[in-house]
């Protein structure tokens, strides 16, 4: 902050101009202000940094990894960390560090895809039910109730049992359990938003329900949905790892963290290291998502702050 004030670059001048001259500039200025608020929130910064690092590692996994993750060499199995194998080797002599890095891809893939599937479904169902009301609301919310009545892991188990194990099926299963709470949240928000004067004002312009839901209600629900999804991310990662651990998610030899943990279970007393490493990774990433979500909630959702 300090050096941008002393040496104003043209970009920061543009971001600070008191009278924006285009809608682009106005939006950028708003983002800049939010970024300022984000930076001053330590839990957002910590959580965000961890997630960015993990994402970068996952994206550049082939460059960062030191070994072939599938290459087995029983002569060097269960080694302690060394300069060759930074985090040691597993029961089949595979490099744990490289597997961990590639595992991040799978974890983020599951978490990201679940969010991308569950958030829009929850948002659309919730806002539609809340805005239109009547029998639409009743039907949609009863469906939500049915989904909420199952414990999410059990629901996921049932779907995996029906569709067969595998990452894609695990994602579908987790998404099915993840959208109903978001729909609940979006509906509750919508109920209070729809009574506001600004919604009455657009109704008086004869805007269609579709337009009102998409242009006016959804932008107001999105912040709390983002917070909710971020906070859910930890649970999603844990469910994914749990499914992997139970052998119902990603299948060996995939380096998914839950799967790694599962196969390391046998050696937990002789070589605790190889179980602790994927466990720590799961913990760290879920913690990062929780901190990010908490911080975002403090900022965007003053009611809980």
């Amino acid at each position: 902050m300090a050096d941008t004030i002393t040496r104003p670059s043209s970009l920061s001048a543009w971001l600070r101009e008191p009278v924006p001259t285009s809608s682009w500039q106005a939006r950028a200025q708003q983002l800049w202000l939010s970024w300022g608020a984000l930076r001053s929130n330590p839990s957002v910064m910590f959580g965000g940094t961890v997630i960015i690092i993990v994402t970068l590692l996952a994206v550049f996994a082939p460059l960062v990894a030191t070994h072939d993750i599938y290459a087995q060499d029983l002569s060097i199995r269960l080694q302690k960390p060394s300069s060759v194998h930074w985090l040691g080797t597993d029961e089949l002599g595979r490099d744990v560090y490289s597997r961990l890095i590639f595992g991040a891809r799978i974890t983020l893939y599951i978490a990201g895809l679940t969010a991308v599937i569950a958030a829009p479904i929850g948002l659309i169902v919730g806002t539609t039910a809340g805005y239109i009301g009547g029998w639409v609301d009743t039907v949609l919310m009863r469906i939500v109730d049915v989904f909420l009545a199952f414990p999410s892991l059990i629901l996921a188990l049932a779907f995996v049992a029906a569709l067969g194990p595998g990452i894609e099926n695990a994602i579908i299963a987790i998404s099915l359990a993840a959208w109903p709470p978001i729909a609940r949240l979006a509906r509750a928000e919508t109920l209070s938003i729809r009574k506001s004067d600004y919604i009455a004002a657009v109704r008086l312009q004869k805007a269609s329900s579709l337009r009102i839901i998409f242009n006016h209600i959804m932008p107001m629900c999105i912040p709390s949905v983002i917070v909710r999804v971020t906070l859910n991310m930890a649970a999603i990662i844990l469910t994914a790892a749990g499914l992997g651990f139970l052998g119902l998610g990603a299948q060996p030899p995939s380096p998914e963290w839950g799967t790694m943990l599962s196969s390391a279970r046998e050696f937990i007393f002789t070589n605790g290291m190889i179980a602790a490493i994927p466990g720590t990774a799961i913990l760290l990433v879920s913690l990062a998502f929780n901190l990010l979500g908490d911080g975002l909630r403090d900022m965007m959702d003053p009611r809980h702050g």
């Binding site: 009278v19 924006p20 001259t21 285009s22 809608s23 500039q25 106005a26 708003q30 506001s196 004067d197 600004y198 009455a200 004002a201 657009v202 109704r203 008086l204 312009q205 004869k206 805007a207 337009r211 242009n215 006016h216 932008p219 107001m220």
Partner: protein
């Protein structure tokens, strides 16, 4: 001016035996009870009363926000359908009481004003937005501002601009200044007066402040318990020429704490 005297004029909005009640059965409450009035084109008509007298309900019923009512509402001598059509909203717009609640917090001024233009398929949105911002005294510098960057008075100007941008014939005003400071209230009242003069818009205003409503309106209806009990001209109000005892009490109470001093 009584309804009979308005016959020769061009009627724009008329209520005949309007009756609105909320709830059903034993729990139902009558909000508006057999209310009739006639508003001529270009007139400013005010509805005054204490909270809960049904004045806001009448306004919301005209606007179509309350869809279940008995009696008839006529617009340009034709009965309005219960579900208002698009043409109605092209010609009738509303300004809300609270400028902090009537603007979408995440939409900048430009998109607030562009939306009605898009819905009603107006051409030249850019030019119209600039013109309406000029008309409400804000100027083009405000195009790309968000509501939280504006003061209460500026927000209310944006809300008025939003109503005016599609050039309606009638403006429904729901206590447009009661949430504002007196100096800002003066600005907004001046603006409303000027706009009416320039554009010949018909005003239908609801307020609890007799001074404000008398300042802006030609004719004033006094409401109590869901009924219009008396219609007066602004001059009658100023002269204290009220027929009904309730109106007299109301006028006295509005004049200040100690009326005699």
């Amino acid at each position: 001016m009584m309804p009979s005297q308005i016959l020769g004029k061009d009627r724009i909005l008329e209520a005949v035996g309007l009756h609105v009640s909320f709830g059903t059965g034993a729990l139902s409450t009558v909000a508006v009870d057999d209310v009739s009035f006639v508003i001529a084109r270009g007139e400013a008509y005010g509805l005054i009363g204490e909270s809960g007298c049904g004045k806001s309900t009448i306004l919301r019923t005209i606007a179509g926000l309350v869809e279940t009512y008995d009696g008839a509402l006529l617009f340009g001598n034709r009965e309005l359908p219960r579900k208002r059509d698009k043409d109605f909203f092209r010609r009738v717009q509303m300004v809300f009481q609270d400028p902090y609640g009537s603007l979408h917090p995440r939409k900048m001024v430009e998109s607030v004003l562009a939306e009605p233009l898009a819905i009603h398929r107006f051409d030249n949105p850019r030019k119209r937005i600039d013109a309406v911002l000029e008309a409400v005294g804000l100027g083009p510098a405000f195009r790309f501002r968000y509501p939280h960057e504006l003061s209460g008075g500026q927000r209310q100007r944006v809300a008025i601009a939003r109503a005016l941008v599609i050039e309606p014939e009638v403006l429904l005003l729901d206590e447009p200044t009661s949430a504002l400071d007196v100096s800002v209230q003066a600005e907004i009242l001046n603006l409303l007066k000027t706009l009416r003069r320039e554009r010949n818009v018909t005003y239908f205003m609801v307020s609890h402040d007799i001074a404000v409503i008398t300042h802006l309106c030609d004719r004033i209806a006094v409401m109590a318990e869901g009924r219009i009990i008396e219609e007066m001209t602004a001059a009658d109000v100023r002269g204290g020429r009220a027929r009904e005892p309730y109106t007299r009490t109301f006028l006295e109470a509005s004049a200040g704490y100690v009326t005699a001093s």
